[in-house]
């Protein structure tokens, strides 16, 4: 009888496969590689090691948030399988990891990969493979380019549009000001500088009297501040990351320079910048934001903040709650969940991009009131709103309206 049994087994297996393959059995669900009735595979690449490892917490927050989603039943009954790899902020490694995710792990999409050089390295590959490179974690301007790169989409307000908002403010309130700029010597710093120059337009060359750049490897930037003061500038545009921002604020006060001080949104954290710099030195600094700062006392009883805290208590208890990156990771993960929900049972890569390019007035708990996500097939810059704020007492005081500024790539 063994021969008969063999044949019977083969027959039933064939029937089972045929049933599984027939479209009718799947209740009209459509899938690309990486999605099924039970699971959605999401890839992610983060610098868990190397010079930018401080950002690794974003990946950990996202993993925690997807755990929460899975514990609550998943997205339309499908669990998220979040595969996150380390690239150490090295572009060749990013290419290797992206190819591993797409070709070996077979993910549906790569989500929130971090850094401008790493994302630049894989952009062409992702678009050739037609795999979404969704909500990249960088503020460079070039991600908003749906015509040439229809599979790549940014997330946060880009550096250039933020700079333009300050430029607009300077032109209106200090039209005869003399501007000194301190910036980090990389793509991030140069993007801000370009935004400022573009925003000032023809007056850029006459208004900007001094530019100083620093390297992240420098232990202190004191000498740059002294040079900038000597230029006689009365406006200081401070394009620095948190550690250097605190140093700069202190030094400016120490040498008795009293410029109108603009600080980039990268370093607005009260816990890691404003407090270490000394509140007495912070008064009157102007910046902008789109997220609620968890260390800002004005949000103590806010509903969105409470929800965020409850999430951290349960799913990420060892998170550093003064780290704005934890807020960032939480918010962008919510953005992805919104898109995947909108996809319904059509989990194809094309539909993911279609839904991602069709977000209307999405408000999330940790956004400042009035900030909304908006995309369209010609606008791949999801968040392009910021609000100006001025430091007063021990927190930021927002002023003016929420300002939109889109810059295409």
């Amino acid at each position: 009888m063994p021969a008969f049994e063999w044949r019977w087994a083969a027959f039933s297996a064939a029937v089972a496969i045929a049933v599984a393959m027939s479209p009718g059995a799947l209740a009209q669900s459509k899938y690309d590689t990486g999605a099924s009735d039970t699971e959605i595979k999401i890839g992610n690449i983060m610098p868990y090691s190397g010079p930018a490892s401080a950002y690794g917490v974003i990946g950990r927050t996202e993993a925690a948030y997807f755990n929460k989603i899975n514990a609550e039943g998943g997205i339309n009954g499908r669990k998220i399988n979040f595969i996150s790899y380390d690239d150490g902020y090295s572009p060749p490694k990013t290419v290797e990891q992206a190819r591993k995710l797409v070709e070996s792990d077979e993910v549906l999409l790569i989500f929130n990969s971090l850094g401008t050089p790493p994302n630049s390295a894989i952009q062409k590959y992702m678009n050739a493979k037609k795999v979404p490179q969704l909500f990249v974690a960088t503020g460079a301007t070039k991600w908003n380019d749906p015509k040439d790169f229809p599979w790549t989409m940014g997330w946060q307000p880009n550096y250039q549009s933020e700079s333009r908002i300050y430029a607009k403010y300077m032109l209106k309130n200090h039209p005869s000001g003399k501007i000194a700029v301190l910036y980090q010597n990389d793509d991030y710093g140069k993007d801000y500088l370009k935004g400022l120059k573009d925003g000032l337009g023809a007056k850029a060359s006459s208004m900007i009297v001094a530019e100083e750049s620093y390297e992240t490897t420098e232990p202190t930037i004191d000498s740059h501040i002294v040079t900038l003061k000597a230029s006689g500038a009365d406006i200081f545009f401070n394009v620095t990351t948190p550690k250097f921002a605190a140093q700069a604020i202190r030094k400016v006060a120490e040498i008795g320079w009293k410029p109108v001080h603009f600080l980039n949104n990268v370093s607005v954290s009260i816990g890691s910048v404003m407090k270490p710099a000394g509140f007495e030195n912070d008064q009157g600094i102007i910046s902008s934001a789109y997220l609620k700062d968890p260390t800002d006392p004005q949000w103590k009883d806010d509903a969105g903040m409470k929800e965020w805290n409850a999430f951290l208590d349960k799913y990420f208890p060892d998170a550093n709650r003064s780290d704005i990156n934890v807020v960032y990771g939480y918010t962008v993960a919510q953005g992805l969940v919104h898109v995947l929900k909108a996809c319904g049972n059509d989990l194809t890569r094309a539909n993911v991009m279609k839904q991602a390019a069709n977000i209307r007035d999405l408000e999330l708990g940790m956004f400042l009131p009035g900030v909304k996500v908006n995309t369209s097939p010609t606008d791949f810059a999801p968040i392009s709103q910021l609000q100006l704020e001025r430091f007063k007492g021990d927190s930021w005081e927002r002023f003016g309206d929420v300002i939109s500024s889109d810059v295409g790539g």
């Binding site: 790899y85 290797e96 070709e103 050089p117 630049s120 390295a121 793509d187």
Partner: protein, 339 residues
């Protein structure tokens, strides 16, 4: 001068002397490895082919360092700089001047040979750890030099350059990845054979004589200064070719790709593969590509620490790297044959 000479005499050799026959593999083993490298890509996914290509590229860079350190006894932590020059040369020629990718390789090689030869001149006055520090300076300076404003029209500044991946020529029915793999393989084998021959030649013997004892070498009539700089030049030239291939395979160059981390990785690869043992280069290259991935799969948060532990274990168990493993295997095999 005499003080320096005395120091050289009393100093223990920085690199252990490796007899030149022990620098290569036997013919049978070489052919087996070659056959594996040729056949393997036919059975694996494109992603694995890509990894194998990177294995060859880094293997080439480690080989170059091996000629310098294992051959002529000079240290370098600046290989990433030559790798970067090679990568940028190819990227700029291909993207800005539409030069065929094959033609960019000799240009990179020649340019890097010149750069290495010139850098070797001041480096002549230094030895041991001092030379390592001088080359270290080169590696830390390179990413910043690439960001310089006046070079931006060519280098793309901090944004880097995207490189177009070449198709297989003559309408060959293979994917881009597979074509690049075989292309890289041919170049790697050519350079490997050339390197083996170089080390067996008169120049190679001169390198090794300098490594073992500079004074004895000069007494034998070897132009120490010339051969030391020559070793630097050859090593830089091969590294440059590896950089070019790396740029074409990865399709992207940016200053962040060529930091000191890369130089240290290459150094690590050489030590793990066995200093002075050329076939070990490929083993060392495998170590620097795959072990970080293994470390990451063990613990994401502590991947660096896990990598450190693995590295420590390797250095502790087999201080002479893959060469030691190969020798042990060879002896076991010989014993088995005799029985």
């Amino acid at each position: 001068m005499s003080a320096a000479v005395e120091e050289v005499v009393t100093e223990a050799p920085a690199v252990e002397a490796v007899p030149k026959r022990a620098m290569t593999l036997g013919t049978g083993t070489s052919l087996t490895v070659l056959a594996l490298l040729v056949v393997a890509p036919l059975f694996v996914k494109n992603f694995i082919i890509f990894q194998m290509t990177m294995l060859l590229v880094y293997g080439l860079a480690v080989l170059a360092l091996n000629i310098l350190t294992g051959g002529s006894g000079q240290f370098s932590l600046g290989q990433s700089a030559f790798y970067a020059i090679g990568a940028y040369t190819s990227a700029i020629l291909m993207e800005q001047y539409n030069v065929n990718y094959v033609l960019t390789l000799p240009v990179s090689g020649a340019l890097c040979f010149a750069a290495g030869f010139l850098f070797g001149q001041p480096a002549l006055r230094l030895s041991g750890v001092y030379l390592a520090l001088a080359t270290f300076a080169l590696a830390t300076a390179m990413p910043q030099l690439l960001k310089l404003n006046f070079l931006e029209p060519w280098t793309g500044g901090v944004q880097g350059l995207v490189v177009t991946k070449p198709d297989a020529p003559f309408g060959l029915p293979m994917s881009q990845d597979m074509w690049l793999y075989y292309f890289t393989l041919v170049i790697t084998i050519a350079i490997y054979i050339a390197s083996v021959n170089l080390l067996r030649s008169r120049s190679g013997r001169a390198f090794m004589a300098i490594r073992d004892n500079e004074i004895a070498a000069s007494a034998m009539g070897i132009d120490v200064a010339l051969y030391k700089t020559l070793a630097f030049g050859v090593s830089a030239g091969i590294t440059g070719v590896a950089g070019s291939l790396g740029a074409i395979v990865v399709q992207f160059v940016a200053p962040d790709s060529y930091t000191i981390t890369l130089a240290i990785a290459l150094f690590l690869g050489m030590v793990v593969g066995g200093v002075g043992w050329l076939p070990g280069s490929i083993v060392g290259s495998a170590f620097i590509i795959f072990v970080p991935n293994i470390a990451e799969s063990i613990s994401k948060g502590l991947s660096g620490a896990v990598f450190g532990v693995l590295l420590f274990l390797v250095i502790f168990a087999v201080p002479h790297g893959a060469r030691q493993v190969a020798i042990v295997c060879q002896q076991a095999l010989a014993k088995y044959k005799r029985r």
